[in-house]
Amino acid sequence: MVEATPVVILMADDDEDDRMLAQDALKESHLMNDLRTVGDGEELLEYLQRRGKYSEEGSAPRPGIILLDLNMPRKDGREALKEIKADAELRDIPIVVFTTSQAEEDIYRSYKLGVNSFITKPVTFESLIQVMQTLGKYWFEVVELPSKKQ
């Protein structure tokens, strides 16, 4: 078992309630992870490419996993997903779509664009904690992530 180094989880979601709940659930699940959040697709790309308000050194550590909501203003998850997968530098970051949508079309499109998983946001907090725990266990303990480039 690899030592669990605090992996950065980057969450893109326009809903601040959901961001808050995710933060709480992460805490409750006792995962030692650094959760960063952005509010929409534009901000997400800015963070990943270390532009704009993230141009400062160290302000945007490379995430080990991205939790991506699909429906966001300015630039939604689907567009951001396309751009990230088109960027050679960012392509290898695992992306888990984390959205309210259950639409088959969204699931299909997301996998077609290359997401690693698609999870529909659960309603109850209990379930949210479980999802976070499962995510943490799977992506950070079971799975090998590509080592960070510097």
Binding site: L21, T100, V123, T124
Partner: protein, 467 residues
């Protein structure tokens, strides 16, 4: 939801007029055909009459000439006789003999010719007269030969011979008149027929013009209707798109606040220590929020029957039912339900919607079972062939609790239920969706039931769809 009834559009009224014009067109065409047939018949009759008249005229000219020949032969004989009577010269006897024999030969032939005609009587009369005249002339000649001039002249002076000639002449003239008259009659009749034929042709021409005019009107109306239809279609497409947009908005933006209520309510419920009363209130709130979510989801499902409809393809009903049963395996095992599936054909349909249809019907059949009786569900079909459309009637019947027949309309109405929330779960959308799917496929659904005995749902669907 209030639905505003709209006035029947102009489009509908125009369609009515169009139908009327079509009727006139067919009547007109029928009349044209009849008229043409009649004209043809009359023309043929006229032609026949004309030919007959011509033949008759030709015939009567020849006949008249022949009769005139008879008369002139007799006259020749008469003048030869007169010559002999006056002079006693034998030379006159030759032309006399030739004249009388020619006359007799002609008469014999004419008698034979007209034996079977209406002129038969007249001809025989003329023949008799001719014979009598010849007899008289023979007699006078004989007298001259034997008893001399005065004896012969005495007979001549009786005017017997003269009268005979007059009679013959008169009869010949009257015959000529008769034949001419009958020819004229035939001619007149032929002319009448010809006139009628001309009239028929003119009427036919006028009718054709009238029909062309009607046709133009019909085509103009058709073009107008087709453009109206295009407009209506565009509007329908637009309204459908609006509905889809609304549905997707409802899906996301309506659900979102509800989700928050549930999420935070749930946090409250699990992480706080609440007074029993507060707990109860909180639970009821969460319950209400959850029901609202389900209602919105159901409403979306209902609207998606039209907005997410897929084109019709050939599907195997048997396979779809088997898939649905396999999906419901757990539920079926739980209740110990026994499902028998009979023969089911393949039809043209939207596979996803048909699956939904069977899912709703079968899950109902399982859900509403009698508490102490294992649910027994039978699915079978019957094909109904007809001139208009081949249909298949699929029956899903159960031995469950059944319902009062008077509620058959109610159960197909959206969100209408026959039981309380706490008796059986569900929002009352299953059968409403079934009906909508059935209607989209151009079919019907009826429900038969008896309380305590069970229920039977008969879905009738066309086997082929007009795409």
């Amino acid at each position: 939801m209030l639905i505003r009834l709209q006035r029947p559009s102009r489009l509908a009224l125009d369609v009515d007029h169009g139908v009327l014009h079509e009727k006139y067109l067919y009547l007109g065409l029928l009349a044209l055909v009849v008229l043409n047939l009649t004209t043809a018949v009359i023309s043929v009759a006229s032609l026949r009459n004309f030919t007959q008249a011509r033949d008759q005229a030709r015939q009567s000219i020849t006949t008249n000439i022949e009769f005139a020949d008879v008369y002139s032969d007799l006259r020749d004989a008469e003048s030869a006789q007169r010559g002999y009577l006056i002079t006693g010269n034998q030379d006159y006897l030759t032309p006399y003999a030739s004249g009388t024999s020619k006359a007799q030969q002609l008469m014999t032939r004419l008698r034979r010719e007209f034996q079977h005609t209406t002129y038969n009587q007249e001809i025989s009369q003329i023949s008799t007269l001719t014979d009598q005249k010849i007899g008289e002339m023979n007699h006078t000649l004989a007298l001259r030969k034997t008893q001399g001039f005065s004896a012969a002249v005495a007979v001549v002076n009786t005017n017997y011979g003269l009268d005979l000639m007059h009679n013959i002449q008169a009869k010949l003239a009257s015959m000529e008149n008769e034949t001419n008259a009958s020819t004229a009659q035939r001619d007149a009749r032929a002319n009448r027929y010809a006139l009628a034929a001309y009239g028929g042709l003119a009427a036919s021409f006028a009718l054709t013009l009238g029909l062309i005019y009607f046709l133009r009107r019909i085509f103009r109306r058709l073009r107008f209707q087709s453009s109206q239809l295009e407009i209506a279609n565009e509007e329908l497409g637009r309204s459908n798109r609006e509905l889809q947009d609304f549905a997707s908005v409802a899906s996301h933006d309506l659900q979102e606040p509800l989700r928050k209520i549930q999420a935070f309510g749930d946090r409250l419920a699990t992480t706080s220590h609440l007074e029993p009363d507060t707990q109860v209130y909180l639970d009821r709130m969460l319950d209400a929020a959850s029901r609202m979510r389900i209602l919105i989801e159901d409403l979306l499902t209902y609207s998606r029957v039209t907005t997410k409809a897929k084109p019709f393809r050939r599907v195997s009903l048997k396979r779809i039912v088997q898939e649905v049963l396999s999906d419901m395996e757990i539920r079926i095992e739980e209740t110990g339900a026994v499902v028998t599936v009979g023969r089911l054909p393949s039809i043209e349909a939207d596979a996803t919607q048909i699956r939904q249809l069977f899912q709703n019907l079968i899950s109902n059949a399982v859900k509403f079972h009698k508490t102490d009786v294992k649910p027994s569900i039978k699915i079978h079909s019957k094909i109904d062939r007809s001139d208009i459309q081949d249909m298949v009637a699929i029956t899903v019947e159960d031995n469950g609790i059944g319902f009062d027949q008077k509620y058959t309309d109610r159960i197909f109405t959206i969100f209408q239920r026959l039981h309380g929330r706490n008796e059986y779960e569900g929002t009352g959308i299953g059968l409403a969706v079934v009906r909508k799917i059935v209607e989209r496929h151009g079919g019907t659904v009826v429900a038969e039931s008896e309380i305590g005995k069970g229920s039977r749902f008969i879905v009738t669907l066309p086997i082929k769809q007009q795409q």
